[in-house]
């Protein structure tokens, strides 16, 4: 049994989580400050991937990054492509897992006591210090929970991933696409092994979230 799908899933989930961590925090933090109408519109837009079928997300990604689309063709000229290679998996996983990070981070920021920021300001602290050393650490629990959820979602992504990068053994296969492929080709025993591995990973993630949610 080659472990490439495991390794591929993990690296895709890792890079996707890094992207989603920073963009999620940034957007959640900026959107809290916006006027209500704009906030509502952007909030809907950013949460959409959570409720859309992943295949629809994959369809959108193909419309944008497909090699015959303007942006895809433009990037291809510089040797950058997101179709049918593992880097595209990062994009698909990031898009689908983004709302989980974004919404949990936003919830954490909304529960933040603004007086703490006010105290920091009157004590002479810079806005950068207040954000990185006060706001983030105080909202740590929510942000970490969002990150773990986003990582778990990215690890299990199937729909958008299979549309954008397909299934090429040894190149683009992930745990979820492998399970499907093995089942489709009647290799039930191998499919079962991957399923058990997947269950193990998911259980670890859930235990981790529960530990985070416990008050220190």
């Amino acid at each position: 049994m080659t472990l490439f799908p495991l390794w591929n899933s993990i690296r895709i989930a890792f890079f996707s989580s890094v992207i989603v961590f920073f963009t999620g925090i940034f957007l959640a933090h900026e959107i809290v400050k916006l006027p209500r109408l704009l906030k509502g519109v952007l909030d809907t837009l950013l949460t959409l991937p959570l409720v859309l079928p992943p295949t629809v997300c994959g369809y959108f990604l193909l419309r944008i990054f497909g090699l015959r689309r303007p942006l895809g063709a433009f990037l291809a000229r510089y040797g950058i492509s997101f179709v049918m290679n593992w880097q595209g998996g990062i994009l698909a996983a990031a898009l689908v897992s983004f709302p989980l990070m974004y919404r949990t981070a936003r919830g954490a920021f909304e529960g933040f006591d603004e007086d703490l920021a006010g105290a920091g300001k009157t004590l002479g602290l810079s806005d950068t210090f207040i954000f990185w050393r006060i706001r983030l650490p105080v909202c740590r629990q929510g942000i970490l929970a969002g990150l773990v959820l986003a990582f778990a979602r990215a690890l299990g992504e199937y729909g958008a991933t299979s549309m954008l990068i397909g299934y090429t053994p040894g190149r683009t296969d992930t745990i979820s696409t492998t399970v499907y492929q093995l089942w489709r080709t009647g290799n039930d025993l191998m499919a079962m092994r991957w399923v058990l591995l997947n269950l193990l990973i998911s259980a670890v993630v859930l235990i981790f979230i529960n530990l985070l949610e416990r008050k220190p």
Partner: protein
């Protein structure tokens, strides 16, 4: 040393229109003014402090601290909070929960370059508040009083030019309040800084503040010497906020007397009646059976026990039975209910319905 603030801000359903001045009163020899802002919840007290600290930007106005302009809408000056040198004690102290007490205090010393100087200044601030021993605790491990002292240490370390205290005792159990009020008083004397204290508690304001401003619905109705304010609140709202329990509409009568239609009596006041008075107020403890002046028969009397006093509810005999009852407060130990109650003329408060500011 002085703070001048003239702040206007529109919050939609609520207008803030505040004018405060801690200095420049003629003949005032006191070095230090502690200004109290007394107002009901929602009157705009915290908003006023936040405007002074720069945490909220007013629409218009001017804020000047010790000759330094912090905000001026016409000259387009708006110093950021970190350059205002204002020490702000938040209602819940706003200690950073993920840092130790020591790290909290270090945060106030970010301008200090040398590590040794930082440590020394933090130690000094913590020792002054007797918190050096607790420096490695986190805020969650401190009692209410210790939290307040930690927040004060942090403010000391930031070397402010003025102190702003937002409801300093509201987060504390009642038995701690008196003790901490004394501590805070000593702290203010030690720091020798001007301070603005916001509170809805007349007791706290009376104990700590040399001057008091009355804030109602975003507007300062009155600012004067605290003792003078409690002796003569001038305005109905101020009288209520200073704890007077009995009020009724009144009209000037002949001589130095006022007629109170609701109570059906005419009261002797012993002084000239200003033409613009609209109400009278009588504090619950001003009533006594032993006073023969302004003494009238009472009815419907009923007593309520308080821990160390007795509260009597009553109506004047001439009063409509459906009208609101009055309150008398008297020491315990008297079994029978009063039949006549008198009030010294000087203790009849003459009040206007509104402040000067509303009329212009």
């Amino acid at each position: 040393m002085s703070l001048f603030a003239d702040i206007k801000k529109n919050f939609g359903s609520f207008q803030l229109n505040v004018r405060l001045d801690t200095g420049g009163r003629a003949g005032d020899s006191r070095a230090q003014t502690v200004l109290g802002i007394l107002g009901a919840s929602g009157a705009g007290k915290s908003l006023t402090l936040k405007c002074i600290a720069g945490l909220i930007r007013p629409d218009a106005g001017r804020i000047v601290l010790n000759g330094r302009t912090l905000f001026d809408s016409e000259k387009r000056i708006d110093l950021p909070p970190r350059k205002r040198h204002v020490g702000y004690l938040f209602q819940n102290y706003a200690l950073f929960p993920h840092m130790t007490v020591y790290e909290n205090v270090l945060c106030a010393l970010s301008a200090e370059k040398s590590r040794a100087a930082k440590g020394e200044a933090a130690k000094q601030a913590l020792s002054l508040m007797e918190l050096w021993e607790l420096r490695d605790r986190r805020p969650g491990q401190l009692s209410g009083g210790q939290k307040q002292r930690a927040a004060l240490s942090r403010i000391i370390a930031s070397r402010p030019e003025i102190l702003l205290f937002d409801e300093p005792f509201s987060a504390l159990d009642s038995h701690l309040r008196e003790k901490l009020a004394v501590e805070l008083q000593l702290f203010l004397q030690h720091m020798d800084l001007e301070a603005v204290i916001v509170s809805h508690s007349r007791d706290e304001i009376y104990k700590l503040c040399s001057d008091t401003a009355i804030l109602e619905q975003g507007t300062v109705l009155l600012q004067k010497d605290t003792k003078a304010l409690f002796a003569d609140p001038e305005i109905l709202a101020a009288s209520i906020l200073t704890g007077c329990k009995n009020h009724a509409a009144a009209v000037p009568a002949s001589g130095q007397r006022v007629f109170v239609p609701e109570w059906g009596i005419t009261l002797e006041t012993g002084r000239e009646i200003p033409a613009d008075i609209t109400h009278v107020g009588i504090r619950a403890h001003s009533f006594s059976e032993e006073i023969s002046e302004n003494a009238f028969p009472v009815k419907d009397t009923a007593g309520t026990e308080e821990p160390f006093e007795q509260l009597i509810r009553f109506r004047y005999a001439s009063q409509d039975p459906s009208s609101e009852m009055l309150w008398q407060r008297r020491p315990k130990g008297n079994e029978h209910l009063p039949e006549r109650l008198g009030v010294r003329p000087a203790e009849v408060l003459l009040l206007r319905k509104r402040g000067f500011l509303d009329e212009c």
